[in-house]
Subunit: 461 residues, 2 copies
């Protein structure tokens, strides 16, 4: 069967919910990446697992590529159809299927966004804690193994997905995991699927772990003379076992953008932004302990945000760092780096990165989830200036090489897509070939998100 | 090549560290299970990863089964060589390779036991939290996805293994994971290996996450009129977000054994045993909040253990529950069940199990890690009385069916081995076939721990 014949069959299956309109193809040609647009041959909008399974069987017969699409916020080209084929957009599968307050879990469809989920949960006293900043879809977050500001306390998607329903490359539907809090019953298929970027199957349902909304929350921002003081504060806070809910580093360049774009009035220099969750007395004690540690490392200008509206302003500013940086530099685009290193190497990694950027022809602030050892540089470039794109790619390359040499990873939370396949051999060695073996076992024709994450066997990689 | 020829080659490789003595074979014929002994053809004692790799290449050529052995404490036959072949005993690979206090991680060999690790860590202020009771090897704990009393606070082996070195079925050596706290770089091979029971490879090194020894610890035991009060206390404590380090349920039968065998003087009835870790003030506040909740559900006779020696006595008694139960019933053996259910179904699951046991011809106490929804019945039987073995198997079968009907799992922490393969289809459906596909991709000849966990393709399963 040809791809064209598959599209005809898919049209019979989905009717108007299979689109080949230019505007729809263009809207699904690119996400928040620095890669060129890659429009698919068609965009499907399934409403049920059965439709996804039927779609997959048709595409399997035609060896037609299938690429999942959540909210289009992935950063490494995961949702782009570089080999053409069908993009499966889950926007119509966006329901909360069941909340169990007693078990503190929820069953959702993959197109639901994390903000929409938390809106629905508001009255229950529960919340879903993983917060990558962008209002990503939960299916996409699972497939990228996303995390963000709260991972230091609540973990990543690895820790908060209890089970999945997955449509495999041949159309079979499996359910992974259970609603029990733990299990030793065989291979952890949930963990294998989380972070697989749609290369092993399409997720059609997720069971997620929820948390109780904390009785008290307090947040603060404080300034440091030097980056090293901020990082030393993070290390000591972790070692003391103080359970931070968030601990974010922003460098002087980022603070300058916050002041200009967001109307903040922070002293220009590196800062930590922290948040504590718990009972009133605990939060107070944690904040005091943190303050004591930070001051011994030179922290000044503590600004505590205990009112919800002050906290919202603080974290909105942090979440909008990417957009604020772009707004501050009209005409520029950004390559966002994403290395993660052991905490003991974090100060060195950030300092070396800052020095590298200072020596280059481009600019970009540094910020990160330093409690995990994960940080980003938002490297700005003029898309019409080839030497600037080359410069940001070279900076990103040096960051990854440094991270791997320190025992870290090329990506803490953004994933591989096509943007980082070049580092998989260096990071995993023979393990990358094992990933290729697993992929070939579950998707022998290679129709699921081809060209992403695993070795390109067609290229002999 | 024949198995005999492989053994000759292994003798050249390992010298005296390949044993075929009857006593060594007998010692490796059985672990803490109710299955009949199954002596291997030989026992190997490698000292290095290179030796394990060379051993595996020899066994691959001869299609000779290879079964890993840690401390022999597995409960479902995981370490027994039912198809013969070579048992690889890791007792000589038992070193701590590197402790990083700043990164709070440790690199160890698989034969090291958890107690030996914590002994070595004592001076660092750090500890490894996973505690399955038995002094298991860390390699074995990873392969079984073990957990135990502290999982409610610190997670299971899934959450505490950061990376592995694994020798694959063809002798290739891979390293999974990194020393960074999180990563989105490709398939989570660490999580795929953890819980794989030696069917995908032999673990030759582990990187484990450590925690800071808490500033303060307090433990307590309290009695309830009825089991339901104890379970309601657990649910409410979890929902309040009180971070228990341990919360264990023991039924009246278990308490009676503690009083008789361990010289305790607890009121005969169901009890909860709890522990809190944290800063002094936090622990005090948590203990008070728990006490208030417990009392509203009928708790009486609170006995607080704040001195280390009192806590040690309390948890030693809990850890020895299995042996005390056997000591109390001379001539009996035990089948230990291991279901895990959503917390909301826990009271029903325990009550139905207790009623089932009461109606049967056998006896056995119930106890469990109720903060996870995981509990065990230690079902006693006379090995010479076929009807008693049949009765305990029937009880175990009904417990598993009940757990699956409740959305739970056949095994919370003991694993599948050969003891629970019969439930894999019911628990995972088509997902079990996917496990078989992954196994076949990585071990096409099926030499790694044959007959365990995955479908028996030779039997058409």
């Amino acid at each position: 069967m040809t791809v064209q014949a598959a599209l005809d069959e898919l049209h019979l299956l989905l009717g108007d919910r299979l689109s080949r309109s230019k505007s729809e193809l263009d809207q699904h040609a690119t996400s928040e990446t620095y890669f060129p647009p890659a429009p698919p041959d068609a965009v499907a909008f399934p409403q049920t697992t059965e439709e996804v399974s039927a779609l997959m069987k048709i595409c399997a017969r035609a060896q037609c590529p299938v690429v999942g699409w959540g909210a289009g916020t992935s950063l490494e080209g995961q949702a782009q159809a570089f080999s053409g084929g069908v993009v499966v957009d889950f926007r119509l599968m966006n329901k909360v299927l069941a909340v169990s307050a007693e078990d503190m879990d929820v069953r959702v469809q993959p197109g639901l966004t994390r903000e929409a989920l938390n809106e629905e949960l508001r009255a229950t006293g529960l919340f879903f804690p993983v917060d990558p900043g962008a209002n990503a879809s939960l299916g996409g977050m699972a497939m990228t193994r996303a995390s963000g500001t709260t991972a230091v306390r609540y973990g990543t998607m690895r820790d908060n997905v209890m089970g999945l329903e997955v449509v495999l490359a041949d159309g079979r539907v499996i359910r992974t995991g259970t609603r029990a809090r733990k299990s030793s019953a065989g291979y952890d298929l949930t963990a294998l699927m989380v972070g697989s970027e749609g290369t092993l199957g399409l997720v059609t349902e997720l069971t997620l772990r929820l948390r109780g909304q904390p009785e008290a929350i307090t947040a603060a921002v404080c300034a440091f003379d030097a980056m090293s003081g901020a990082v030393e504060t993070v290390i000591e806070t972790i070692q003391m076992g103080i359970p931070m809910a968030r601990i974010e580093f922003v460098d002087a360049a980022m603070v300058s953008i916050f002041n200009k774009v967001n109307g903040a009035s922070l002293p220009e220099g590196p800062h930590l932004m922290v948040e504590f969750h718990g009972a009133q007395a605990e939060v107070r004690a944690q904040a005091e302990s943190f303050g004591t540690i930070a001051k011994t490392h030179g922290a000044v200008g503590f600004d505590w945000a205990t009112r919800p509206e002050d906290r919202t302003r603080l974290w909105d500013m942090r979440h909008r760092a990417h957009w604020s940086t772009l707004a501050h530099a009209p005409g520029k685009r950004a390559l966002v780096t994403d290395i993660c290193v052991p905490i003991s190497r974090l100060a060195q990694a950030v300092e070396d990165t800052a020095a590298d950027i200072a020596k280059s022809i481009v600019t970009g602030p540094i910020l990160g989830h330093v409690g995990d050892g994960n940080f980003h540089a938002i490297l700005l470039f003029d898309p019409s200036a080839a030497e600037e794109l080359a410069a940001v790619k070279a900076l990103s390359h040096r960051m990854v090489e440094r991270a791997l040499a320190m025992g870290g990873t090329a990506t803490g939370e953004h994933g591989i897509g096509i943007g980082k396949t070049a580092y998989m051999q260096a990071e995993h060695g023979e393990g990358w070939q094992v990933m290729g073996t697993l992929k070939a076992a579950l998707d022998p024709a290679g129709i699921l998100n081809p060209g992403k994450l695993v070795p390109r066997r067609d290229l002999g990689l």
